[in-house]
């Protein structure tokens, strides 16, 4: 009974020590450090002042409570330390005297000191100045050389009350009497500690409490299960279904530990019956909590939050500003502040920032009051976040005939889900999967893939599982998962895209061709059939056929920009630049903000020698997605500037491009160095070549990145296979490079290869290649593989 009651939802300070320890997650080191700091402060002349920062519900009171309990039990501190644990909200502090009285009150309550209490009461008969002077003395006398630990929450509110004058007095008091140590909390940084002129600027050692990750939440629930001796919950959290449900909670709660604790009671609910009543009660209970959080905001901030509640998704700053009649800079400032306070989170897309509620549960709880009598709407809202579509469908199928109310809830929840672009729990799981996979944490990614299989079980989910297993070296299991993915032939047209993605992920291009060519069930429309074929063929390096298929896909669905873009890629690879340009222009017309298309256009124009237009296109890419401004793009842009005679600008731009590499010459960082082959394609004027090459050598050498330049020169050998480059030009190219790199010893080997390539192009005599050492020949052979075919003398 005690254990059932003891997980108090809003007042961790009421929880017994053992409970606080049992459910501690993520912050073991921090709490150890805080307690250690208090010990040091009590036993030595060093005094520590700590400030914990984090939004409401993040666990600040839990930390403070734990510090109190642990420190109280340390025997070595008996007689050395006194503790003044102030109330979580000290509304009555409007001066330094008030703060002193709060501290004294905390002491006489803690230590049941009637004498101290009487002395404090007597102070109220004095003038303020006299009372303050006496309170200072009383406190020091009472401490009698012990150290005082002040535990103070919402320090920002206390400082608001103190104002500058009170802060100065407090600081002077601490400086003049080094017997204090402080552990304090605040929702965010505040002027009292962040403004240079403030007395407490730089005073505190600040730690930020981070929100719980999925793993932290799992640990928390496991701890709760253990503490409650709830075997069902403990077992449930280890299952894919349980973890998937937990992700739904994470999505709702935004990493707020308090909400996880609340929802721990619902995780194992089997029937809707068991869920509905306690759920509605919980939402009711949560409402004042969220309302209190709203009350801490300014009216303008509340307006923004209410707007985000209505919108239900990420919204741009401009839209928020416009819809609420707030100037853009004010809206931006308020949103930054709301983010610091933990109410919203942001996403960057291009140059725009988008904001959404950090805790969707806040929206639901606040809407409780708006939905008077419309319980079903609220419940439906919750259910679509809690269950996947499959689960809802399954539950609906299992319902008895007389379960009309439940049928209504579930049907409406399903309808609501159909209107969502993506199921929330799938979205949450997919996002976690991608994060783990990108971080090469394949074990965790596999767990999430299993959860997705549990809640959806599509071909793509199996494909993801297979991918993880391959990375983990579990090939047999990977094969099984792959088979499962392939065999899950889609039954609906909507599932085809999923199936296609699965096969792509598994590099099963022949299977895609097989499916697209032969499959009649479901009847693929023209677009899908040719699109899938085109993509598979391009992956198999059958570029001509790929271009043909994609061209038919584009004709079948002329309004689809992506197929035009993929077609452009094939045409570019085939060297059909004019057609490529036409195609990419069409893609841009259909989707003007698609940055890869602009990049493709820029590269094509460069190949065609239309440098001014190429420059405009490069700039557009950077404008659309600043993050896309990688070395490849920036170096090309720089080279175009130079080619346009804007040498100083070009040099500066190239320096900037090289700076982005931070000294790395790894291929994954550098991408392709197209500037070298582009130069050869663009002009056969030796003087222009020399000028560019000289600048490149200088800049790349200065940055220690000559190795990248070498790769570029090797790429130019492939271009020598093009008929457009005459033999004379090829010979000149080799000669200019030889002469330019005479002083660069590290280029000697490369020049040997280039010379051999040029000679081989002219003679097609294998003896040219045989003169090279075998390892150098191996480097050259793939680059010159088309020379025989293109230049064979009949």
């Amino acid at each position: 009974m005690l254990k059932e009651m003891s997980l108090s939802r809003y007042t961790p300070s009421m929880l017994p020590h053992e409970t606080l320890e049992a459910i501690l997650v993520q912050r073991h080191e921090l709490i150890d450090r805080l307690v250690d700091n208090v010990k040091t402060s009590a036993l030595t002349g060093n005094k520590h002042y700590n400030l914990l920062i984090g939004p409401r519900g993040i666990g600040k009171t839990h930390m403070v409570s734990l510090v109190y309990h642990r420190v109280s039990k340390l025997e070595e501190l008996t007689g050395q330390l006194a503790i003044a644990w102030l109330h979580e909200e000290e509304w009555g502090v409007a001066s330094f005297l008030d703060l002193l009285l709060c501290i004294l009150r905390a002491l006489y309550e803690e230590y049941k000191d009637k004498d101290l209490e009487a002395r404090c009461t007597a102070l109220r008969k004095q003038s303020m100045e006299e009372a303050e002077a006496q309170a200072k003395s009383i406190l020091l006398e009472w401490l009698d050389k012990r150290t005082l630990l002040i535990l103070a929450e919402n320090l920002d509110e206390i400082f608001n009350g103190l104002r500058d004058d009170g802060e100065q007095k407090l600081r002077a008091y601490i400086q003049n009497n080094p017997v204090f140590t402080i552990v304090a909390t605040s929702q965010s940084l505040f002027n009292g500690v962040s403004v240079r002129e403030s007395p407490f600027y730089g005073f505190f050692e600040i730690q930020y409490l981070s929100e719980f990750s999925f793993d932290d939440a799992l640990s928390l629930l496991t701890n709760i299960a253990t503490y409650r001796e709830d075997k069902d919950l403990a077992k449930y959290t280890q299952t894919p279904e349980g973890r998937s449900r937990l992700r739904a909670v994470q999505h709702l709660a935004g990493g707020n530990p308090r909400v996880y604790i609340i929802f721990s009671q619902f995780l194992t609910c089997e029937s809707l019956d068991q869920l509905v009543d306690p759920l509605m009660k919980t939402l009711d209970d949560l409402t004042p909590y969220y309302q209190a959080r709203m009350s801490y905001l300014t009216p303008q901030q509340r307006k923004v939050i209410e707007f985000l509640c209505e919108k239900r998704g990420a919204v741009s700053v401009s839209e928020i500003a416009q819809a609420n009649f707030i100037p853009h800079p004010s809206a931006s400032g308020q949103l930054k502040r709301l983010k610091e306070l933990g109410y919203v989170r942001s996403h960057e897309r291009g140059r725009e920032s988008y904001y959404e509620l950090r805790e969707p549960l806040m929206r639901i709880a606040l809407e409780v009051k708006h939905m008077r009598g419309e319980t079903i709407k609220l419940l439906v809202e919750f259910l679509k976040l809690w269950y996947s579509r499959n689960e809802l469908t399954r539950r609906l199928e299992l319902l008895g005939r007389d379960a009309t109310a439940e049928r209504k809830y579930l049907t409406q929840a399903l309808d609501a889900l159909d209107r969502e672009p993506e199921e929330p729990c799938i979205k949450a799981s997919t996002s976690d999967y991608m994060t783990h996979f990108e971080h090469k944490d394949y074990g965790r990614a596999l767990q999430v893939a299993d959860e997705l299989i549990q809640i959806r079980g599509s071909a793509f989910d199996w494909a993801r599982r297979a991918k993880c297993l391959v990375k983990l070296g579990r090939d047999l299991e990977a094969d099984t998962a792959t088979k499962q993915a392939i065999e899950l032939r889609p039954m609906t047209l909507e599932a085809v895209a999923d199936y296609f993605s699965a096969l792509l992920l598994l590099d099963k291009y022949e299977d895609i061709l097989d499916f697209a060519t032969k499959n009649m069930e479901p009847d693929l429309d023209g677009f899908m059939r040719f699109f899938m074929r085109g993509v598979a063929l391009s992956c198999l390096y059958r570029h001509r056929e790929a271009a043909e298929s994609l061209s038919r896909a584009a004709r079948a669905l002329p309004g689809e920009y992506y197929s035009h873009y993929l077609l452009f890629e094939q045409l570019y690879i085939l060297g059909r630049y004019n057609e490529a340009l036409e195609t990419v222009d069409e893609s841009i017309r259909l989707e003007p903000d698609y940055a890869p298309a602009w990049k493709g256009k820029a590269m094509t124009l460069t190949r065609l020698g239309c440098l001014d237009s190429a420059l405009v296109s490069f700039d557009r890419v950077i404008e659309l997605t600043p993050a896309a401004a990688d070395f490849t793009l920036l170096s090309q842009r720089a080279d175009i500037l130079m080619a346009l005679g804007r040498w100083d600008e070009g040099r500066t731009a190239m320096e900037h491009a090289l700076d982005t590499l931070n000294g790395s010459s790894a291929p994954e960082d550098t991408g392709y160095l197209d500037i070298v082959p582009n130069l050869l394609m663009r002009t056969q004027d030796e003087s222009i070549w020399r000028k560019h090459i000289d600048v490149w050598l200088q800049l790349f050498t200065a940055h220690g990145l000559v190795s990248i330049l070498k790769v570029g020169v090797l790429s130019s050998i492939i271009v020598l296979a093009d008929h457009v480059i005459s033999n004379t030009a090829a010979v000149s190219w080799g000669r200019v490079w030889q002469e330019s790199t005479r002083e660069y010893k590290e280029m000697t080997l490369l020049m040997r290869l280039l010379a051999a390539a040029v000679e081989y192009r002219a003679t097609l005599d294998d003896r040219v290649l045989l003169r090279l050492p075998v390892e150098e020949r191996r480097v050259l052979e793939p680059l010159i593989k088309d020379f025989q075919k293109n230049f064979k003398i009949s």
């Binding site: 250690d36 700091n37 060093n46 002077a133 003395s137 600081r171 240079r196 050692e205």
Partner: protein, 401 residues
């Protein structure tokens, strides 16, 4: 020893200041001191160490006086200090209590002076110090921390006259009592407060009898020792403790506060440290939007310190020095200013652009006093005082490396 950035450091844990303290005692044998330094050097820690470890030759009092708003309350504070030192036996003979008794019409029991005492604060101060000196065989040293802040506060609450009068009174006391010494220090320079008082028409220099002593960053070996002790105290795993300690110390120009900060930050992120991580931590602190090392104040305080008109000149000078890899002489700096100053912006900039170098020299002097820059010993060329600040300035102002 654990890292404790911003916290109170026990006197026995203050590292590398013994030599400085010994010198300071020697100066105090002869005159009072204005202790200056850049922020975070540990002035308060040094004073508290001196108080804790003073030999029987001195009676030392330390106070942070930033919260004192009027001269009368300052005198109360001094009186409280004197009274607690003298003890009950001698208190009965104190002149101050006699004066107070007359003003209040009876014996003073508490710590607060009666309002009627306000106009007599000077007399009371003289008397309180007089009482103390009469009963002290040894020399007496008052360490008054944040005195400039107190003067600013007094100026704000009363007027410049009153603040100046207090400084004059303290000077008079130093002249009256040969064994009395004072040490003024604070987080803002006393010269700023005195300048503002001068601008209000007061020409006295009430501190010209005091010796200015500057507290520098730690010496190399002391900074390394501090870093090493903190690495050890925090139980950080380290393959090359001395090398890493050196890297930490050098990365932050041997400034104790930042050494503590770097170790604390590394500790919060894990248990391993090496030279590379130390350097990376410093770099991250430079660009951290939350400015954990409060470096933005080097820019933010400029309007207050130098006035709105002079700020563009200050910014341009610091930009030039930050962008340069070598120290720069006055003439070179002046010639470079031409590109960034605008004659239409202010009379000062017009004056400089017309060829007058004096305002530039004065600005450079002010920057030197506020520890932004220093002059190379052999040729007087100017450069940033702390490479750490120079580096931050370059990043903050987006200057080329």
């Amino acid at each position: 020893m654990k890292s404790n950035p911003g916290g109170e450091i026990a006197p026995e844990h203050v590292i590398g200041r013994d030599g400085f303290i010994e010198n300071l005692w020697q100066v105090l044998e002869h005159q009072s001191v204005v202790l200056v330094s850049e922020r975070r050097m540990g002035k308060s820690s040094v004073m508290k160490k001196m108080r804790a470890e003073c030999t029987g030759r001195h009676v030392v009092f330390y106070s942070d006086v930033e919260d004192i708003p009027t001269p009368l309350e300052f005198v109360e504070h001094v009186f409280g200090t004197v009274r607690s030192h003298l003890g009950t036996m001698k208190r009965a003979t104190s002149q101050t209590e006699k004066i107070l008794g007359k003003l209040a019409g009876g014996e003073i029991a508490g710590l607060k002076f009666p309002p009627a005492a306000a106009p007599q604060w000077r007399e009371l101060l003289q008397s309180a110090i007089g009482d103390l000196m009469m009963h002290c065989e040894h020399s007496v040293v008052f360490f008054w921390d944040e005195l400039p802040l107190m003067l600013q506060k007094i100026k704000h609450n009363t007027d410049e006259n009153t603040a100046m009068n207090l400084l004059d009174a303290l000077r008079s006391l130093r002249q009256t009592h040969p064994k009395l010494r004072m040490v003024f220090t604070g987080s803002i320079g006393l010269h700023h407060v005195i300048t503002s008082l001068r601008e209000a028409g007061h020409t006295n220099d009430s501190t010209n009898d005091m010796f200015t002593v500057e507290l520098d960053p730690l010496r190399d070996q002391d900074a390394q020792l501090l870093a090493a002790q903190l690495i050890n105290g925090e139980e950080l795993v380290c393959g090359d403790p001395m090398g890493t300690a050196r890297a930490v110390a050098n990365a932050v120009d041997r400034i104790p506060f930042y050494i503590h900060h770097v170790i604390a930050l590394i500790k919060s992120r894990g248990h391993v440290i090496d030279s590379g991580l130390a350097e990376e931590t410093v770099s991250q602190a430079m660009i951290n939007a939350q400015d954990p090392w409060h470096l933005c104040h080097y820019r933010e305080r400029m309007e207050e310190y130098y006035g709105q008109e002079r700020v563009p000149v200050v910014l341009s000078l610091l930009d030039e020095l930050a962008a340069s890899n070598e120290p720069m002489h006055l003439q070179l700096l002046v010639s470079r200013l031409g590109a960034s100053l605008k004659p239409e912006r202010s009379a000062l900039e017009r004056d400089i652009l017309s060829g007058n170098t004096e305002p530039v020299r004065r600005t450079l002097d002010a920057l030197q006093r506020d520890h932004y820059i220093a002059r190379r010993q052999d040729d007087g060329a100017y450069e940033f005082r702390f490479p750490l600040i120079k580096r931050w300035w370059r990043i903050h102002r987006s200057l080329p490396c």
